[in-house]
């Protein structure tokens, strides 16, 4: 009967996957065997099989519900910065004017039920004084929201800040971070995410974190398939087919739940769902490739700048004042964002407006083309808008957009990494969408279309630009030539196969040489072995193992002949997390491997509960106890906690194979033998340090085992 505590892990240690897999298989075998004996056991085995699916269902429901709630609350709170609804304070701007009949074609937003702060406080709606009042109220609300967000994070769950994707990748690879996925983190993250997004900071509504990251992406973008691919490509270390189907199921359930809550009021899943069906021209491939290259450049630049800024935050005085930092950045963002209408609106709204293709029904600034001839419009039906020259409104929109692009690029570098929950998808997409739209309008005005034909649709360029940047400021491993996730997300958003070609082209052409998540993983020193990096150096196992030539010899236990006191001294004098067990110090023939935690717990328990075990008792690892002299204290048998099948490699095994073994089996340590005798041990940390050394990075930055 195993003791409670044996087989569990210390905080900030890595899980031994082999042991866990063996245990799970044994448990499953037990259940299957018992199920043939009685109906109750059969029911239990059936429920065990379904428990996985039930869990996915619940996860999907909860994530969908949370996402819907976050969406509704974030929209409302964002609009709160500008005004208040008189018929019901819980309505945001759009819903306040939903039933009113006073909206006009030109001013679709104005209705008497929605009052801006200037109207409420000063009684005026136009003029310099009203503008100043609105500006000040905007600033006030932004500062209040971000202050509340960072205070709550600080008081309840400091783990809730950031996007969490590097930490999730590490946790899913087997590293234990207690409290990271706890209920306080979830509650705090949900509440403060809404506050952080509504304060106007340049960050995104990152998906609700759950182990099924697929679900999160699914509800963020309404793209269940993209979510599953995201999980497969980015986050999951060990992803068998069973997980694939279950993730997809959870993602579907979440999307359905979100759809039922209907946060956007018109049965879409996402704010920027668009439908494009216009055919594309061959000549448009050139600007798309340009957008792809832009996406790659933006990604590389952003990653370097952001990592440099994060490093500065870590090492200089800037990092001592996190709350102040959040307030200052919010103030700067609000001050600079308010005058430009494209930066004043939230990221998702901006993207949605940029994706929108202009038709005769639009009256926004971005669609400010000169009206076609009045007589011709009698016969014109629908949206034939080929070759229109730009009007006043459009020129204003263009330079405002250019300013917005520069502003967003700069401010996102500084914002990402602050001590509030933040995400990167929306700001990257916004940057890409602005660039795409500018390019699209430029192409349109150059007049490369034949008259009468449906020509360049700037909204499509915006979408392609967003896809390019979404991929690259993100987390893709750099060797992967196809950014599968962005392509699928975009495909699901637009609902058409016509644009798949575009997206593959741009994904090939935008490949930064760094990726953000692995860079952050390295910055924080997590022991994460990238599953896709290739190990190119030609070293042998003997070069990486411990002990090195100058180190003291390996600390081993013998299978009999050591006393409890000697074992305890050995364990306490070193801080290794495991000890090999050998037949005798002279032969060094391997018997098994023992974990420090299990050893300490067993000895502790034996001292308290077992009769007569003292420091002079022998510790026995063999099957049969050797004969003891009659006056000796009773021996302590610890064969049960020993791992009898540790993995070994010989000293001449090349490191590529060793690293492969580590990755594929999820090992934590591996013993090295020569001519059958135990020589040393390689741990995951040693491998990471070795790889860091080869890449000329600081090997001491790897912190954990």
């Amino acid at each position: 009967m195993p003791l409670p505590g044996v087989g569990t892990y210390e905080d900030f240690n890595t899980i031994d996957w082999v042991r866990e897999k063996t245990r799970d298989r044994d448990r499953h075998r037990e259940i299957t065997k018992k199920s043939r004996q009685s109906t109750i056991a059969l029911l239990r085995s059936v429920s065990d099989a379904f428990s996985g699916w039930l869990l996915m269902l619940l996860v999907g429901l909860m994530a969908g519900a949370l996402a819907g709630g976050i969406d509704i609350a974030a929209h409302w709170l964002t609009d709160m910065k500008e005004g208040v609804c008189l018929v019901g304070f819980w309505f945001n701007h759009e819903h306040c004017c939903w039933t009113s009949n006073e909206t006009t074609f030109q001013e679709r937003d104005k209705c008497p039920q929605w009052q801006t702060w200037a109207q409420l406080i000063a009684g005026q709606s136009e003029g310099a004084f009203a503008y100043i009042v609105n500006y000040l109220m905007y600033l006030f609300w932004a500062l209040l929201f971000s202050f509340l967000a960072v205070s709550l994070v600080r008081a309840f769950a400091p783990y809730a800040c950031g996007s969490g994707i590097p930490e999730i990748k590490t946790i899913l690879s087997g590293f234990i971070i207690r409290g990271y996925l706890g209920k306080w983190t979830l509650i705090t993250k949900t509440i403060t995410l809404v506050l952080a997004v509504s304060s106007g900071l340049s960050l995104g509504k990152e998906e609700v974190l759950s182990a099924a990251a697929a679900v999160g992406v699914s509800v963020a973008f309404g793209a269940p398939i993209g979510g599953v691919l995201f999980s497969l490509e980015e986050v999951s270390y060990y992803f068998p087919l069973k997980t694939l189907w279950r993730s997809f199921f959870a993602a579907l359930v979440a999307a359905f739940t979100l759809r039922s809550i209907n946060p956007f009021g018109n049965s879409r899943l996402v704010l920027f769902y668009v439908e494009f069906h216009a055919p594309w021209h061959l000549i448009e491939l050139a600007p798309f490739i340009l957008l792809g290259i832009f996406g790659g450049l933006w990604g590389a630049l952003f990653i370097r700048a952001n990592i440099a800024w994060c490093r500065r935050r870590k090492t200089t005085r800037l990092g001592h004042y996190p709350v102040m930092e959040v307030l200052v950045v919010t103030a700067i963002t609000a001050l600079l964002a308010y005058p430009n209408s494209y930066t004043r609106m939230s990221g998702a709204e901006l993207i949605s407006e940029l994706f929108n293709d202009c038709s005769l029904l639009d009256s926004s600034q971005l669609c400010g083309y000169q009206q076609p001839n009045v007589n011709a419009s009698d016969t014109a039906v629908g949206n034939t808008l080929a070759d229109r020259p730009a009007g006043e409104g459009l020129y204003t929109a263009l330079w405002q957009l250019a300013l917005a692009l520069v502003f967003k690029m700069l401010i996102t570098v500084v914002t990402f990494g602050m001590k509030v929950p933040s995400g990167l998808f929306i700001p990257s997409m916004a940057v890409g969408a602005i660039a795409g739209r500018l390019l699209g309008v430029g192409m349109e005005q150059l007049g490369w279309c034949s008259p009468g034909a449906d020509c360049i649709t700037p909204g499509l360029y915006a979408m392609v630009g967003a896809a390019a940047c979404l991929g690259k400021a993100r987390f893709t491993v750099w060797r992967d030539p196809h950014d599968g996730v962005s392509v699928v997300i975009m495909f699901e958003l637009t609902g058409g196969l016509e644009y798949i070609v575009y997206l593959f082209i741009i994904s090939v052409h935008s490949r930064p040489s760094l990726c953000l998540s692995p860079a952050h993983i390295r910055l924080n020193g997590y022991p994460f072995l990238e599953p896709k990096e290739e190990f190119e150096h030609s070293s042998l196992a003997v070069d990486v193992m411990r002990p090195r030539r100058s180190d003291p010899p390996l600390a081993v236990l013998t299978q009999n002949g050591m006393t409890v006191g000697e074992v305890e001294t050995l364990v306490e004098s070193t801080n290794f997390s495991g000890f090999p067990v050998v037949v005798s110090p002279e032969s060094q023939r391997l018997v098994g491997f023992l974990f420090r935690r299990d050893l300490l717990i067993s000895i502790d328990n034996a001292r308290k509960c077992q009769e007569g075990v003292v420091s002079a008792s022998q510790v026995i690892f063999t099957e049969h106890t050797p004969s003891q002299p009659p006056e000796a204290p009773p021996p302590l048998r610890l064969r049960g906690i020993m791992d009898l099948s540790p993995f070994t490699v010989t000293d001449h095994t090349p490191m590529d194979i060793t690293v492969d073994i580590f990755r594929k089996l999820g090992l934590r340590q591996c013993l090295v033998t020569r001519n059958g005798r135990l020589l040393g041990i390689i741990t995951k940390k040693d491998i990471l340090k070795h790889m860091a050394q080869i890449a000329n990075r600081d090997p001491d930055s790897i912190l954990f085992n």
Partner: protein
């Protein structure tokens, strides 16, 4: 499994949705038909809204009064775009009020933890027993934790309350650890 085109998927989901949300249709304010008509000849663009059901959501039913007459109606209506929209104001109200209450509760709890509790404890114990650490007023609860244990033992409170206090102290220490690593050292792990 194949790709499900969003239109088909949304129609499928829509049928489920209709079953689930059928109770919402009593609130007639939550449905509308919105028709956007662009400028035509000398008539300006206009937006028309009405609470009609899906089958009546077209230009002829919604655009009232019709700004053109007779033979022009068809040409005018061809340019208009009518969309049927539905929302659930009850869900919105519920969500916002729920969010505000949770936010309010968290804020109150935070204020209690940071301001009121030290004040109460100081009043109970006086200044002599406790070491005032000027390091971190918000986080350092250790002196108060000890004091709290002293108090609980001396007044022999019932077990349930003790357990709650213990759990709270443990949680607070955990948050303090997290705070030290995330805010002060800028790493997630300590």
């Amino acid at each position: 499994l194949g790709f499900i085109p969003p239109e088909a998927a949304s129609q499928l989901l829509g049928s489920f949705d209709a079953i689930i949300n059928c109770h919402n249709s009593d609130n007639s304010e939550d449905i509308r038909c919105k028709c956007i008509c662009p400028p035509y000849r000398e008539i300006e663009g206009h937006i028309y809204k009405q609470n009609v059901s899906l089958k009546d959501c077209n230009c002829l039913h919604v655009v009232e009064p019709m700004p053109v007459d007779g033979k022009d109606v068809e040409a005018y209506c061809l340019r208009c775009e009518c969309k049927y929209e539905e929302r659930s104001s009850g869900t919105i109200k519920f969500t916002i009020i729920m969010y505000l209450s949770i936010l309010g509760l968290l804020l109150l709890y935070m204020i209690y933890l940071t301001l009121l509790e030290p004040m109460l404890k100081r009043r109970l114990f006086g200044h002599s027993q406790l070491i005032q650490s000027d390091d971190d007023v918000v986080g350092d609860q250790q002196p108060f934790a000890n004091a709290h244990n002293v108090l609980s033992r001396s007044h022999s409170r019932p077990n349930m309350l003790n357990k709650v206090e213990d759990a709270q102290q443990r949680w607070r220490r955990q948050v303090q650890e997290q705070r030290k690593s995330v805010f002060d050292r800028h790493v997630v792990l300590s």
